[in-house]
Amino acid sequence: MSPKMQNTVRLTLSYVAIAIACVIILYPVLWIIGSSFNPGDSLSGSSIIPKDATLEHYKSLFNTAESDYLLWYWNTLKICIITMVLAVAMISCMAYAFSRYRFVGRKNGLMTFLILQMIPNFAALIAIYVLAYVTGLLDTHFALILVYAGGLLPMNTWLAKGYFDTIPKELDESARIDGAGHFRIFWQIILPLAKPILAVVALFSFITPFTDFILAQVILRSEDKFTLAVGLYKMISDQFGNEFTTFAAGSVLIAIPISILFLSLQRFFISGLTAGGTKG
């Protein structure tokens, strides 16, 4: 076989493989979009491009009398944003202390974080449930936010500390000579320089509660408190198939904004995950 021929064969095979992968990836996406425009509640006799497409499922989701969907969306955004703000504030403070100061208990503190980061926070599922029950915090967003923010701390503090370590200490020292206090150095010198890692931490802190199902399922009880993950699951598990088209519309409305957000910020994700993965 001539080299040119070999090249053609290689390229053709590559394109075929890529095409198969694309079909497998895109088929479920197109199927759910098609289903969401499908008239009627069930999917029997539907095709991937519905004959008489309808927007009625989207309309019913936006009708607050008929569906809690908008409320779930609002709950989720609220929980995610508060978690994000809380987690970023605590993480940047802790990472700064660990990175810049040598104090009694520092080593043990870092060690504790390293061990805690290995334990997934739903390992303590039963305890979280029983404790929320005992403290009367079951079925509140407050409990959920605290659990999410607490779970984010160990790993992300390590991540941020690693980045803070790379900011030259000479900057702090020259600021100190100029008379800046501890907090001022943190606020005006370190934080502005640490923006890239804070963006990564903020992203993680937003996406983690958004995509979590298990903790929300454990803590939230009443339907008007649900997050999207729990609500969507309820929609499909209560009367499987009977409301599938509405469920499909609900899925599309979650998937599209999150995918766009994700795809436009993916380099942050990848940089954060690589740093987290190699630094342990």
């Binding site: 694309c22 997934p120 303590a124 390590w158 198939g241 993965g277």
Partner: protein, 427 residues
């Protein structure tokens, strides 16, 4: 210098005196500091005496008489009491250390700090603690506290029949662990669930890694067109929240209206497959879904690594007459695996605990008669069911401990190999 050390024994006297907090500082003539330690100790004792008293009694007995005692409340209070005692011990230790250090300074004839200097010192050294306090408090309450709770719970008989407020919970030692391995009903379920967890972890993870590496290498060929578009499509399954994709797949694999049976298999003339009712086919479906969900992450990581492999390596290999396969085996694969090894291990632990895909796809089902776990339940989803459908809290806690031991074991093994453990300044 030597002589002065022998002459005076301030450090020992100060240390001995500060067994009562504050008196060592008084001896060192640091009145204000001593007073602060004394007041702190007294108020600590007064404020927490009841809590510690009830808490310690409660954690030992878990309640003695109904309806007065609620075992789980008592257990909670007990843990809080233990935490409070620990904090108290830390303060006590700081008091001893301070008296000893200042006493030693006196032995060496070093003048002690004045009140003003002490204040500056506190605000100087206290700053990192101030920054850490909010985060640590949160961690103690929502992470450390629950972990302690689960550990203790696994040694109790807390279940449907020993459930407050109607009944008391008792300490039963390691009976839960013994039951899981000895009683037939528990042992059989445990072995079933555990072996499927292992198979699931290895097949699903290894598959998604292989697909991710394969597609990344495929995509890295220079003369390929539309790379940007294809890369975006390949990342797509990662971009969509997993719970949405899994629920959509649950619809697609549905036996009555799902597209897999009705559209795809029918188009090839294959009979409908019982995806949700036959354990074997549910397992196949779960693994296929996890391939779909998991490969983009590996794909993205490997793509980054591939771009950093120096071109000269391949050129040298071409000169030596290596073919495509040899280049892949000899250069690409080792470099990729070396670079992403830590990430690969976290992928295995992630799937080991991948509750979402198991629970959202088919609820761990189809059910197995006579067992608390369904036929596709993994350990974490079994724990969930034990807690929320059969109220076997004690057993669930014991299984959680076993699961955590495995995860932490793997993580520690991985962590010893990463550089953060070796770098002096990191710690």
């Amino acid at each position: 210098m030597e002589a002065t050390v022998r002459q005076t024994k301030h450090r020992k006297t100060a240390l001995a005196l500060s067994l009562i907090p504050g008196f060592g500082q008084f001896y060192n003539k640091q009145l204000l500091k001593g007073l602060m330690f004394l007041i702190l100790t007294v108020s600590f004792g007064v404020a927490f005496a009841d809590l510690i008293n009830i808490g310690l009694w409660g954690i030992v007995t878990l309640g003695e008489e109904l309806p007065r005692d609620h075992s789980i409340f008592l257990l909670t209070q007990g843990i809080i009491a233990v935490l409070v005692i620990l904090i108290g011990l830390v303060i006590y230790f700081l008091n001893l250390r301070d008296a000893y250090l200042n006493g030693r300074n006196r032995d060496f004839g070093i003048p002690l700090n004045s009140v003003r200097e002490q204040y500056r010192n506190v605000s100087e050294q206290g700053f990192p603690y101030l920054m850490l306090t909010p985060g640590f408090f949160l961690l103690i309450f929502v992470v450390i506290f629950p972990i302690l709770f689960v550990i203790l719970l696994s040694f109790t008989n807390y279940d449907l029949y020993h459930s407050p407020p109607a009944n008391l919970v008792d300490w039963i030692g390691i009976q839960n662990y013994i039951d899981i391995f000895k009683l037939d009903i528990w042992r059989n379920t445990f072995i079933d669930v555990f072996s499927w967890t292992i198979v699931w972890t290895f097949v699903a993870t290894t598959g998604q890694i292989a697909i991710g590496i394969f597609l990344a290498v495929l995509m890295n060929q220079k003369d390929l067109k539309f790379k940007g578009l294809f890369r975006t499509i390949f990342i797509l399954p990662w971009a969509v929240p997993a719970f949405v994709s899994i629920l959509v797949f649950a619809g697609m694999f549905n036996e009555t209206f799902g597209a897999i049976n009705n559209d795809i298999l029918a188009a090839f003339g294959i009979d409908a497959i019982p995806w949700l009712t036959e354990p074997f086919w549910t397992k196949v479906a779960l693994i296929l879904i996890q391939f779909w969900l998991g490969f983009p992450f590996i794909f993205a990581m490997v793509t980054g690594v591939l771009q950093s492999i120096p071109e000269e390596l391949y050129e040298a290999a071409t000169v030596d007459g290596a073919n495509i396969w040899q280049k892949f085996r000899g250069i690409t694969l080792p470099m990729v695996l070396f670079a992403i090894a830590p990430i690969l291990i976290t992928q295995y632990t992630f799937n080991f605990n991948n509750f979402n895909v198991i629970y959202l796809f088919n609820g761990g089902g189809p059910a197995v008669s006579g067992q608390t776990a369904g036929s596709t339940d993994i350990l974490i989803s079994w724990i969930y069911k034990l807690t929320f459908t059969s109220a076997q809290y004690g057993k669930a806690a014991a299984i959680t401990m076993i699961l955590s031991a495995i995860v932490i074991g793997v993580a520690l093994w991985q962590f010893r190999r990463t550089k953060s453990f070796q770098e002096e300044d990191m710690m």
